[in-house]
């Protein structure tokens, strides 16, 4: 899958919106107050759900790391993956019109 996901613990409020959207990959473990990626997405359906969760995250705490297969791809170059702050640099993020159905 072209994305890996990471929770920024200091920013996560633990509201559970991400685990509602992507229950196969994200959860708030019992007794904890922040979300955890318990499994990176293994199918395109799971990845789409995680991307949507990242876009929804009101605190911008679920990061989608882009593995863009360019020389910046850590698997190929040893470099660092690029970080896409959730909901801020993605076109369908909160504040865009994509998730709002009315006018």
């Amino acid at each position: 899958m072209p994305h890996r996901f990471e929770v920024v613990e200091d920013d996560c409020t633990g509201c559970g919106l991400c685990s509602e959207r992507a229950p196969e990959n994200l959860e708030i473990p019992a007794g904890f107050s922040i979300a955890e990626v318990f499994k990176q997405p293994e199918t395109s359906t799971e990845e789409e759900a995680c991307l949507e969760a990242s876009e929804y995250c009101p605190a911008g705490a679920l990061l989608a790391h882009t593995k863009d297969l360019s020389p910046a791809d850590p698997a190929q170059s040893g470099g660092q993956a690029s970080f896409v702050p959730a909901g801020e640099s993605t076109p369908a993020g909160i504040g865009s019109e994509d998730w709002r159905n009315d006018t």
Binding site: T13, C15, E20, P58, I94, G95, N101
Partner: protein
């Protein structure tokens, strides 16, 4: 019977199209329905509270005050117990205010998803009133609401724009509550109190998220004069809560004076030590500050702090 009334002017808004139009809010509504808990059954009320395990909330991340250390051990515990009751009394009053404001949100917000979610928060707040009232009765008595909190809640209750209610309650007050609960959770060793804080924090996280999601959507659509008014309201709300002096009968009072007197602490000595620590920049930095650390970053995140208002937050020490 003790009560007060305040006139509010709320314009209720009907929606006749019931389909979801803000997907993240509808999802948050689903989360809220799943995460409901019962204040009577889900808190281990059968465990007795050992006063020595409550913890002193007066000096988080810092050495206890000298005036506290000078007390005999049993009075130190009594001080911690009463100080906690005072603090939690204000959360109790805050939860009641939140319950009323959320009731207003159900009426005033313009989207069905916003109304459905807000309705779940009304019962969340009712549960919080129930647990804090029950827990405080184990410790001491209910103390009066602090003037700054009362001023904030009344400002939100009487605000004319629904966005002001959302910023004042969901983004500012709820973020401060989350930050404060996190601090208290790190201090206390009382299992009952810990469970209360864990469950209420879980609810508060949804409440903050509602404000962030809704305001990120609504603020860019506001006209400029209303947006300016919202920005000014946010600053006023923060300063009301953070800096309003404690006034009683026209004179400034220390909110803990009553506790000092009952425990044989010299109020002047205690107040002077607290003020001196508040004036020490090192000590201030070390203290958790929910305004600076939790509410301010969220206001930045939703775009209600702008170049026009940012400097004002810095001037009063509320900027992160």
């Amino acid at each position: 019977m003790s009560f007060e009334t305040i006139d509010t002017n709320v314009k209720a808004l009907w929606r006749f199209d019931y389909d979801s139009n803000i997907k993240p809010l509808r999802d948050l509504y689903e989360v809220a329905k799943k995460e409901q808990w019962n204040a009577a059954l889900d808190i281990p009320w059968h465990i007795e509270t050992d006063p020595s395990q409550i913890g002193d909330m007066s000096a988080p991340n810092a050495e206890p005050y000298d005036f506290v250390k000078a007390l005999p051990k049993e009075k130190q515990i009594e001080f911690a117990k009463r100080r906690s009751a005072h603090l939690l009394s204000n959360f109790l009053h805050g939860e009641q205010g939140a319950m009323m404001i959320c009731g207003q949100l159900v009426e005033v917000v313009p989207d069905m998803d916003g109304k459905l979610y807000a309705s779940t928060q009304v019962i969340d707040e009712a549960r919080h009133v129930e647990v804090f009232h029950r827990y405080i009765s184990r410790l001491d008595r209910i103390y009066p609401i602090m003037p700054g909190l009362k001023a904030l809640l009344n400002a939100v209750l009487t605000a004319d724009l629904w966005q002001m209610k959302c910023i004042g309650m969901q983004v500012i007050a709820e973020s401060i509550a989350m930050g404060s609960f996190k601090t208290m959770l790190a201090i206390t060793h009382d299992e009952v109190f810990k469970k209360i804080l864990q469950l209420t924090s879980q609810d508060e996280a949804r409440h903050v998220s509602y404000g962030l999601i809704y305001m990120k959507d609504a603020i860019p659509k506001m006209n400029e004069p209303d947006r300016d008014r919202l920005e000014d309201f946010a600053f006023t709300a923060m300063t009301l809560l953070a800096t309003t002096p404690q006034m009683e009968g026209g004179r400034s009072t220390d909110p803990f004076e009553q506790i000092y007197l009952e425990l044989g602490i010299d109020p002047q000595k205690a107040t002077s030590e607290i003020i001196s620590r508040m004036m020490d920049p090192e000590a201030v930095r070390a203290q958790p500050n929910p305004f600076r650390d939790y509410a301010y970053p969220q206001l930045e995140r939703v775009g209600v702090i702008t170049d026009r208002t940012r400097a004002k937050y810095r001037e009063v020490g509320l900027a992160a």
